[in-house]
Structure formats: structure tokens, C-alpha cells
């Protein structure tokens, strides 16, 4: 089983990458969806839910939740692991090493993208953006860069980034299908 985990700081391009995986017909599980479901059930903000869930359930909780959603498939893409603990939870449950794809982008571009995306939990001012980065770093997202199997930079056009994602996914699929 090929398990591709996509990670990166807010605004780096995780959603574009997982949309591309979906377009290519791959099953994609989004960890943020688990958090947003919980947020709407509890009537709190997604930011709050992401903290509450991990505080209540432990560092592996969100990973464990998404594992219930994983389809029987040869390949699966998981969008949004935040820490080495979450990666470990996924590897333990599926008895396989994940392929970690880390997406990076300069902070100014990440901030501008989040401003223009304007999802309900996206920052509107620089202070919110920095706080959100800080929260993700506290989970250990920065440290995950050391564990990255592949790194994609998203610092030019969306088309160029999509192209990089497509090429990487194709090469991973080819490797997986090799005898």
C-alpha cells in the first residue's frame, strides 16, 4: 500500500496538491475535514477544534480518526498531518512507511494566498497569520521538514506548482507499480 502524506504550513498549497491527487483519481483523506466536522458538531471554530481534539484525545487523535475513513485501496493520499506523532500513528495502523511530501512557500506568499482564499478559519491580518503559524509549529510541523521524502516549492505560478505535483505523484505511482 502506498500512503502519501502531504504536509506544509498554512497557505503553502496543500489543498491544491490534494485536489490534483483527486483529479488523478486517487482517494484523498483530508485531516482538516475531521476537524471541521468536529467544529460544526461542537459549534466552535475549526482553530479551536483542532486544539481541543488533540488536547482531549492526545497527539495521535486526529490521525486515528482519519484512519477509520481510509478506503481499501492500493494508494491513498492523506492531506494535513501535523507532527511526527501523527505520521507514526498512520504508519503503525497501516503497517507501512508513509511517503512524506512537504510543501514549502515563502511566508509572504503564504499570507497573501490565505488572505485571498478567505476560508472562514483563514487569517485576515498578519497577527492572526503569525499565530496560526505558531500553533502549527507547536504541533511540530516545522520539525517534519527533517523527515521529508520529497519537498515541493510553491513560489511561482499555480500552473507550475500543479505541474510539479502531477509529476511527483506520477513518479510515485510508477515506483509503486514497478515489480
Amino acid at each position: 500500500m502506498l500512503v502519501i502524506v502531504i504536509t506544509g504550513l498554512p497557505g503553502s498549497g496543500k489543498t491544491i496538491a490534494s485536489d490534483m491527487a483527486r483529479e488523478m483519481g486517487l482517494p484523498v483523506i483530508t485531516m482538516g475535514d475531521v476537524i471541521r466536522e468536529e467544529a460544526s458538531r461542537e459549534n466552535i471554530s475549526p482553530s479551536k477544534a483542532s486544539i481541543v481534539l488533540r488536547l482531549r484525545g492526545g497527539t495521535r487523535f486526529v490521525a486515528d480518526r482519519i484512519l477509520q475513513k481510509i478506503p481499501r485501496s492500493d494508494v491513498v493520499v492523506i492531506d494535513g498531518a501535523r507532527s511526527i506523532r501523527e505520521i507514526e500513528a498512520i504508519e503503525d495502523a497501516l503497517s507501512t512507511k508513509v511517503v512524506l511530501v512537504y510543501i514549502v512557500a515563502p511566508w509572504r506568499q503564504r499570507f497573501e494566498r490565505l488572505l485571498s482564499r478567505g476560508r472562514s478559519d483563514d487569517p485576515k491580518v498578519i497577527e492572526d497569520f503569525l499565530m496560526r503559524d505558531l500553533r502549527e509549529l507547536r504541533y511540530g510541523l516545522g520539525d517534519l521538514i527533517a523527515r521529508a521524502d520529497y519537498i515541493l516549492v510553491n513560489d511561482s505560478s499555480i500552473e507550475e506548482f500543479k505541474d510539479r505535483v502531477r509529476k511527483l505523484l506520477n513518479s510515485l505511482l510508477t515506483l509503486n507499480n514497478a515489480p
Copy 2:
């Protein structure tokens, strides 16, 4: 004054980037040199010196030391800041924002490069490599990715990487010289 700080995990390509800056005639200060000097003075390993110096002198100590070496120049390149505290120390002392260039590479390539480089403080086995990464992450090197103004990936040939470095440095110099 344009202060370019180069950072990245061990084996990512910091030395190649600062060599390129030197070739382009820019003054380069290497934070690792401060540590290696101290190591040879105290007759301990550079790894140990890098911890001892920061434990004894505080998180800003190495940054403060290198500041004494900074030449009177319009542009300076500093290789090897490890944490946001070191960046802040440099910014406070020089009363300027630094431009942070973060170099990234997949772990396997970083490991292979360090193996083949074989500098005295380079890891010979995977465990040493992981320990060294861990040490750097504990300084806060992973978190610095959130603060990166520019990110360079070093995952293909050395020529391609050098080319990326040259282009980036040239564009920074051009920006700096613009009225």
C-alpha cells in the same frame, strides 16, 4: 545594508550556497567557523562546542560572536543561523531586517551528501545523522521555515542548485541597488 542569512538542515547545501556567494565577491561569515574555532581552542568536537557555546552564552551567543566579524559592507551573507533568536540578535545589532534564505532537501539526499563529504563532524551512520537533525531542530531550525523569505530546494544536480543560488543572489543584489 543587505544582510542575507542562509539556513537549512545539515547536508541541505548551505556550504555550496555560501561558496557561490563568495565566488560572486560577497563577504560571507560562517557561523560554523566560530564554533569550530571554539572547538579547537577547547579541544572538544564541533558538535559539543555548538551546544556548550549556546548553553554557556545563551541562545544569542554565536550570533553575537559573528557580529564582531561583520565587515563594513553594503551586503553581507551569514551562513548558518539556527534559530529565530539568532536572527533577532543579528537584526537588533545591525538595525535591519535580514533576508532569510532557507535551503531544503529530502532527508535521504542530505544523508548521502554528508556521508560523501565526510567532514570530521559529519555523521557516518544513520543514527548520528538523526541525532544531528534532532539537535538542530531543538535549536528551532525547523520552525525557521515559517520565517523564510526565500526557499531553495536542492534535490537535483549540484549545477542546477548553484544556478538557483546564483539567480536568487543576483535578484537580491538588483533589488538592493534599485533606487
